[in-house]
């Protein structure tokens, strides 16, 4: 194989979105809003996925997220997992646990699946099912028990927003009861369906502060027995995060149809060609595609990033490109989360709106659906 170009990054993570089919309808889903479009229903055959997994390992990928949509909806999930194991990848099944049939999960264990992550929407069954738009809570609890019975390390993931962030304490208790070793409390980031539902989802500053306090107290109480991840929403930061560890630095994402992106939302950026693993190798796409090179490094940066007063160009990589696009219309602009961005007022205004006295009736959700919007 040709020599690796000097200074080119090696990816660590492959996010394999095996399908956009999913029994849940979470209004904050990070999938694109046009998941029902015909281009996504033409799903990549299993053989192509298997080749992609082997190519990913050769590129230096260590971690594989088998996700979607609902990855268990792909009938070849066991074969795909076996290939990942043979390639040496550390595999995580990111699942809604609908479905999570015992024989199939045992087969996944046999095939070498390393880790199971189950999403929960709330600790209260009724509210959880309302948020997810499906009767699911009890089945998730049973699935978590099955995962533990098979000795999988279990992560519970709960995306936080206005309607569940006040329940952080009971969500933590639930994770302990389920036998989870990790709990991801990921505040909603506003991409995909979450953008459509921003007003209904965005918490107040007071809610966030209470949530953070609850997490701190639980960390002290629980120590190493439960690792709790708490990710602050960008909207309440003054400096941007290095989105995905920097554009096209650590991760590659393959959509159900084989399109390859640096992140979940990158397809929203117009006028950049998207390559597909049906036509090219993952290596060629990673190193040479227009999409992966569009915002790699720092040459693309505009002011104020170019002469960042804090010299953070290599720390935050200018923040999130998709957020810059959504809020300024220009994907190469500084992420408006940044206090130095001339568009920072859009973030401040959204915060202020969230902080307004809560309306008697919460804003209704637009549920994730395959019907084109």
């Amino acid at each position: 194989m040709a020599e690796w170009p000097e200074g080119a990054p090696h990816p660590l993570l492959l996010i394999a979105e095996l399908t956009y089919r999913c029994p849940l309808h979470c209004p904050y889903c990070s999938n694109p809003t046009d998941i029902g479009a015909s281009k996504y229903t033409d799903e990549l055959p299993a053989e192509d996925w298997q080749r992609v997994f082997r190519e990913a390992a050769d590129l230096g990928v260590l971690q594989l997220a088998l996700t979607g949509g609902e990855p268990m909806a792909r009938k070849e999930i066991v074969d795909l997992t076996r290939t990942a194991t043979e390639a040496g990848l550390y595999s995580t099944l990111v699942t809604s646990a609908l479905p999570f049939p015992k024989r199939r999960v045992e087969a996944l264990h046999e095939a070498g699946l390393d880790h199971v992550q189950i999403s929960f929407q709330h600790a209260d069954p009724g509210l959880a099912d309302e948020i997810g738009g499906t009767i699911a809570f009890d089945r998730k609890v049973k699935a978590a028990a099955l995962a533990r019975e098979l000795d999988f390390p279990l992560t519970v993931n709960c995306v936080l927003h206005r309607r569940n962030i006040d329940a952080v304490d009971s969500i933590i208790d639930m994770a302990v009861e389920l036998g989870a070793r990790r709990l991801e409390l990921a505040n909603t980031q506003y991409h995909g369906w979450a953008t459509v539902n921003r007003d209904a989802l965005m918490p107040t500053r007071a809610q966030l502060e209470r949530g953070e306090e609850a997490v701190k107290a639980a960390r002290e109480r629980l120590g190493a027995s439960l690792e709790i991840l708490w990710v602050l929403p960008d909207y309440y930061e003054e400096l941007p995060k290095p989105c995905m560890g920097g554009w096209a630095q650590d991760a590659a994402l393959v959509q159900p149809n084989g399109d390859v992106l640096p992140c979940q939302a990158a397809a929203s950026i117009p006028d950049i060609a998207i390559d597909n693993v049906r036509d090219k190798s993952l290596r060629e796409i990673w190193l040479e595609s227009e999409m992966f090179n569009a915002f790699r490094g720092t040459d693309w940066m505009q002011e104020p990033c170019r002469s960042c007063p804090l010299g953070r160009q290599h720390d935050d990589h200018g923040g999130c490109r998709c957020q810059a696009l959504a809020l300024t219309g220009d994907a190469a602009a500084t992420d408006p989360v940044c206090q130095f961005s001339p568009h920072h007022d859009t973030i401040v205004a959204a915060r202020r709106e969230a902080d307004d006295p809560e309306p008697a009736e919460p804003a209704p959700f637009v549920y994730r659906d395959l019907i084109p919007q």
Partner: protein, 89 residues
Amino acid sequence: MAFTRPKLATGVRLHRDKVREQDVLLFPEGALVLNETALEVLDLVDGERTLDDIAAVLSERYEGANVKDDVAELLDGIGERGLVVEADG
């Protein structure tokens, strides 16, 4: 607190990263790059050997050097992240 009989926690495994030419400990959503010493110790962590057994093997390898404290310290550090646990616990 030192381990008596350490083992890798569920879902934690050693992996040779051929691309970067280094050894790593893989675990849910993460990887820890291991230096030579850490690799040597973790190679012996199997839930069967006691801390004393591990120290004895390494001591023999290094001409009788007393390595027990170093081994204990190294495993405690990794244990704080929940990656190594007590097998007898």
